[in-house]
């Protein structure tokens, strides 16, 4: 049985980081949160442009992303800040969502605190108290079954479907074999691969949900007045050798590995307790996709890329892998692994997958990703399902 050293939370979940989150409830609290995070050791600010004048389903989505991110076990404690009151998404609402995790949560309202300076002081004091508590916590050995493993791909090319995606799938299979759970999102890139995906579903009910998810995403694309399939594969894809949408989607879905799909999740919703692979509804937008996976509780994510990438989530270490040698040479400042040896016949997919597994395990034990070291936490984004009004 594989173990790693993690931070055990009051609800039994396990973090691989011990961040203090300074969470902005609304756009007008962003800079306060950033200032407090700069003052406090180990603190990370979550900033975003939403939380005000959104239509209700869209506001509920914002709350789901914010509460889910703060509930992620990589977060040890939270200070939530809002500025006045947004019914249905106040700092108190978000704190109530986080409360079942048992982690320390404090709220600050800028207006009720007496303005920006007073609120900054209050949030800083709360964060300092939480930092003292968190600094007493130590990593403990826990089974790998505590892990929720996220998978995503982006800036894909022909190497993705042949090397980095199947190697990521192998890593996912290893984690699931030890009782862990994996999440694969990006419904847009299931189109054309549904027959293969649904053949992996554990039941007809799960298969039906996958088909409904694809139909829904396709309908959203069509409602925009653009036929998504009219431009899939894109001109770039065709130049790169991708001939049909089936080929493109099959490459993306190789991240699924060989494990059965145990359930379908709505966007940013946590998986059930059953070990196995979960597929999650969501867009192809990389930052929104990985943020939805972090909000669902994944502690670590492997991002497979052909062209190379800087994508990195603030609280969920984002390990970047490419099967394209040139991309590795150009982008290795923010990437962890080069598995292009698979395409030269130097290593097998399984060996590439083992390299990813070893990197995931080291990251769970505390090894920092390059993006974490460079503080390049650029990829928190909330999925939108409505307009600002």
């Amino acid at each position: 049985m594989t173990e790693f050293y993690g931070y055990v939370r009051p609800d039994g979940s396990v973090g691989i980081r011990n961040h203090i989150l300074i969470l902005s409830g609304t756009v007008y609290a962003n800079k306060l949160c950033a200032h407090v995070a700069n003052l406090i050791w180990g603190a990370i600010a979550i900033e975003h442009p939403l939380g005000r004048t959104q239509v209700k389903p869209d506001l509920r989505m914002t709350r789901r992303f914010l509460s889910g991110t703060a509930s992620n076990p990589n977060v040890g404690g939270v200070v939530v800040v809002d500025h006045f009151q947004e019914l249905g998404c106040t700092a108190e609402d978000i704190a109530a969502d986080i409360a079942p995790t048992g982690k320390p949560v404090m709220t600050v309202n800028i207006r009720r605190s007496g303005g920006l300076i007073a609120a900054t002081e209050k949030a800083t004091r709360y964060a300092m108290e939480i930092a003292r508590q968190l600094s007493d916590q130590r990593r403990q050995p826990v089974p790998l079954s505590s892990l929720i493993f996220g998978m995503n791909c982006g800036t894909s090319d022909t190497t993705s479907g042949l090397a980095s995606n199947p190697a990521t799938g192998y890593c996912s299979d290893r984690i699931i074999a030890e009782g862990g759970r994996s999440i694969m999102a990006e419904t847009t890139e299931w189109m054309g691969a549904e027959v293969w995906l649904t053949s992996k579903a554990v039941s007809q009910e799960v298969a039906d949900k996958i088909m409904a998810g694809v139909a829904d995403m396709e309908a959203r694309a069509l409602a925009s007045g653009e036929d998504i399939r009219g431009s899939q594969p894109t001109g770039d894809n065709i130049l790169g050798g991708l001939t049909t949408i089936e080929e493109k989607s099959m490459g993306a879905c190789k991240k699924a590995g060989s494990s059965p799909i145990v359930d379908y999740l709505d966007i940013a919703m946590p998986p059930g307790k059953t070990p196995g692979l979960y597929v999650m509804y969501g867009p192809g937008h990389g930052a929104e996709s990985i943020s939805s996976i972090a909000a669902a509780g994944a502690q670590v994510l492997v991002f497979s890329t052909g062209g190379g990438h800087t994508v990195s989530h603030p609280i969920m270490p984002t390990i970047k892998v490419t099967g394209h040698r040139e991309s590795w040479e150009l982008m290795k400042d923010t990437m962890e692994l080069d598995v292009s040896g698979i395409l030269r016949g130097e290593i097998t997919i399984e060996q590439g997958g083992q390299m990813i597994f070893d990197e995931v395990l080291a990251t769970c034990n505390g090894r920092l990703t390059k993006s974490e070291i460079l503080k390049d936490d650029n990829s928190f984004a909330i999925h939108r399902v409505g307009i600002s009004i």
């Binding site: 022909t158 042949l162 189109m191 001939t243 049909t244 099959m250 190789k254 698979i342 395409l343 030269r344």
Partner: protein
Amino acid sequence: MPERKPRKAPRTVKTVFVIEADDNVGTAVGEELIRKGDTVTTAGRVTDVTLKALADIPYGHKIALRPIRKGQPVIKYGLSIGTATANIKAGDHVHIHNVESNRGRGDLTAKGKVKT
């Protein structure tokens, strides 16, 4: 004993990548481009095929590992990624000029020829 004439060496041996055993195409992802006339071998799940490239194969593009008749599926990842629209010979370049998608064919539904 007469001196044996040395066999003419192939221009260059290049490798294409094959992801599943029943794939009928391989993908050119080697560092050197495949030129018409090159000898091509396979890496990945299939390692015992040797053929001659009948066309230049750009990086990331596909080459047929065996003949694919018109109307037959093109298999990559062990699954159909489309249908051959012409007879394809082993060593041919396989792309949009000889393969069509079976998905999202609004053009066919519009003509009443539903393709599923």
